[in-house]
C-alpha cells in the first residue's frame, strides 16, 4: 500500500515506499445488490469497480446510471498549511452544460461537507468524479438523490470517514438532502419549473421527504453492512 503521511514533511522526490514481499493481492471486493426501494423505483448498487481509484461506485435506476470514483485523500500542492481536507467534485455529462454542472457540484460539495470528517485529513484533497453513463431524465434535480447515494458509497469504499449516512430525495421538482435520521436539513435545491404555484411553500415537500428518507437510508445501510 502506498500511504504517505501528510502530517510530516515529505521525503525526497525519488523516494520509494517500503513494499513487503508477502503483501497480499487485494481481493476483488465487487459487490452487487439490487433492491426494491419503492414499487416503481428499483436501484442497483455496486462498489469497488475501478481498481486504480481509492473508491468507486455505480448506482443505477431505470433512467439514470452514475459512476463515481474517489481519489484521495491525497496530498495537495498548496504551500500553506491546511488543517482540513478540501473536497472537490467534478461532474462529467454529455447532456447538460458545464455551468449547470458546476452549480450542482458546488451544491454537492456543500452537502457532503456536512458529513465527511474533513478535519481527519489535514493537508489533503479528496476528489470525486461523477460520470453520467445513462442520462434519460431531463431535469438535473432528479439526479441529485442518486448522486448523493453514489458519493456516499464511493466515499465509504475509499475508507474515508463520514459522521453520518446522508440521503437525498426529489419530490415536486425539489431535491431535499437530509441527515441525522431526517432531523437535519443539509441541502435544498429547487429550480424554476413550469407548474409554478402562487406562493412557494416548501414545508410540505420537506415533510414528505422526511417520511421517505428512512427507507432510502435503510437500503444504503443494508448494502454497506452486506459488503
Amino acid at each position: 500500500m502506498n500511504v504517505q503521511d501528510r502530517r510530516r514533511i515529505l521525503g525526497p522526490a525519488g523516494a520509494k515506499p517500503l513494499v513487503f514481499a508477502n503483501a497480499e493481492a487485494k481481493e476483488d471486493k465487487t459487490v452487487k445488490e439490487e433492491t426494491q426501494l419503492n414499487k416503481n423505483l428499483s436501484i442497483s448498487l455496486q462498489r469497488g469497480i475501478i481498481s486504480n481509484a481509492n473508491g468507486s461506485s455505480i448506482v443505477e435506476t431505470s433512467g439514470i446510471s452514475l459512476l463515481t470514483s474517489v481519489y484521495g485523500p491525497r496530498s495537495t500542492r498548496s504551500m500553506s498549511f491546511e488543517p482540513r481536507a478540501t473536497l472537490n467534485i467534478i461532474l462529467q455529462s454529455n447532456k447538460f452544460d458545464t455551468s449547470n454542472l458546476k452549480e450542482i457540484s458546488n451544491f454537492l460539495i456543500s452537502v457532503l461537507q456536512c458529513c465527511v470528517c474533513l478535519e481527519k485529513y489535514p493537508k489533503s484533497g479528496i476528489d470525486l468524479f461523477i460520470n453520467f453513463n445513462i442520462e434519460d431524465e431531463d431535469e438535473l434535480v432528479q439526479y441529485i438523490p442518486i448522486m448523493i447515494m453514489s458519493c456516499m458509497i464511493a466515499l465509504m469504499d475509499a475508507d474515508i470517514e463520514v459522521s453520518d449516512i446522508i440521503g437525498g430525495l426529489t419530490i415536486d421538482h425539489t431535491a431535499v438532502c437530509l441527515g441525522q435520521n431526517g432531523d437535519q436539513l443539509l441541502g435544498l435545491w429547487k429550480d424554476p419549473s413550469s407548474d409554478e404555484q402562487d406562493a412557494l411553500v416548501l414545508n410540505e415537500t420537506i415533510a414528505k421527504c422526511q417520511e421517505q428518507y428512512s427507507s432510502s437510508r435503510q437500503q444504503l445501510i443494508e448494502f454497506i453492512s452486506n459488503c
Binding site: 452549480e103 456543500s110 435545491w189 429550480d191 412557494l200 414545508n203
Partner: protein, 260 residues
C-alpha cells in the same frame, strides 16, 4: 482577512444564542447600507454601479441587439466576471448559472418589437471586489440597471410577417424598458437563527446559507442552500427554510421600495 478561532467562537455564540446579536447591531431582516449609481456608462443602454458598506463593488452594463426571436430563443443573457477568479472557477460558473436560471423568469414579451424581431438583452456584470457571497449585491445591481435601461423607440410597423421589413428606430426617442427583474436574497443560518444579508464575519461562522429568489411580491424558485464557508457547515432545522421564505416575503417589498 481571516478571523482567529476566538473571534469565530465569539461570533458564533452571539449569533446562535436565543437573543441573537449581530456584530454590527442589525436586525435579522436588515440590510447593510448600499450605494447605487445608475446610468453612468454612456455606451450602454442601461448601467449601474453598486457599492456595499464593506467595500464590495459591482458594475453592471445592459446592452441590446435586435434578433429574430423565431431563431434566437434566449432573449436575456447574463455574463458574470469576478475580479481575482478564473472564468471557469466553480464560484463564477455557479453564480452565472443561477442568474441565467432566474433571469428566465422575466416576461420576454416586453422585449418584442415586431412579429418577427425582438430585443436581446445582454447583462454584463463585473464584480470589482467582494468580501461575502456576492449574489445579493449582483441581483440588486441587475435590478437597478434594468430599471434604468432605455431602448430605442420602434417607428416601423409591428406586423412584418406579410411584408418583409427590418425594424427601424426613432433617431432620438427612447422607451423605458418595463420588466420587473427578480431579486435574490442570501440568508445565513447560524444555529436556529436566520439572518438576511450576512456580512463577511457572519458568513464565516454560518452553518449554512439559503438563497431565495423574489419577484413581484412573492418568493419564487430557484431556492437553494449554499455553504458560505468550509469550516462551520452542517445541517439545520428543516423549519428554518420556511422561516427564511416568510422573512423574505414579509420584507421583500420594503427592500425593493428602498432600491428605486
Amino acid at each position: 482577512m481571516s478571523l482567529s478561532i476566538a473571534e469565530k467562537s465569539y461570533l458564533f455564540d452571539s449569533l446562535s444564542s436565543a437573543q441573537a446579536l449581530r456584530p454590527d447591531g442589525r436586525l435579522p431582516y436588515q440590510f447593510r447600507p448600499i450605494e447605487i449609481y445608475t446610468d453612468f456608462l454612456p455606451s450602454s443602454n442601461g448601467s449601474s454601479r453598486i457599492i456595499a458598506s464593506d467595500g464590495s463593488e459591482c458594475i453592471i452594463s445592459v446592452k441590446s441587439k435586435v434578433v429574430d426571436h423565431t431563431v434566437e430563443k434566449d432573449l436575456v443573457q447574463v455574463d458574470i466576471d469576478i475580479a481575482g477568479e478564473r472564468d471557469d472557477s466553480i464560484l463564477v460558473e455557479s453564480i452565472t448559472s443561477l442568474f441565467n436560471k432566474i433571469i428566465d423568469t422575466i416576461d420576454v414579451s416586453k422585449l418584442q418589437l415586431t412579429q418577427k424581431y425582438s430585443f436581446k438583452i445582454y447583462i454584463d456584470v463585473l464584480v470589482l471586489s467582494t468580501y461575502s457571497y456576492p449574489v445579493s449585491l449582483i441581483s440588486f445591481g441587475i435590478y437597478s440597471a434594468l430599471n434604468s435601461t432605455y431602448l430605442p423607440k420602434l417607428i416601423s410597423s409591428f406586423d412584418d410577417l406579410e411584408v418583409e421589413e427590418l425594424p427601424t428606430f426613432h433617431d432620438y426617442d427612447l422607451v423605458k424598458l418595463d420588466v420587473s427583474p427578480p431579486l435574490i436574497f442570501v440568508l445565513a443560518i447560524v444555529g436556529d437563527n436566520i439572518f438576511i444579508d450576512p456580512a463577511f464575519n457572519e458568513s464565516k461562522v454560518a452553518n449554512n446559507g439559503l438563497i431565495i429568489s423574489w419577484s413581484q411580491g412573492k418568493v419564487i424558485a430557484p431556492v437553494r442552500t449554499m455553504a458560505l464557508n468550509n469550516t462551520y457547515v452542517k445541517g439545520f432545522k428543516p423549519s428554518l427554510v420556511q422561516e427564511g421564505i416568510d422573512l423574505v416575503n414579509k420584507y421583500g417589498q420594503d427592500i425593493v421600495n428602498a432600491l428605486v
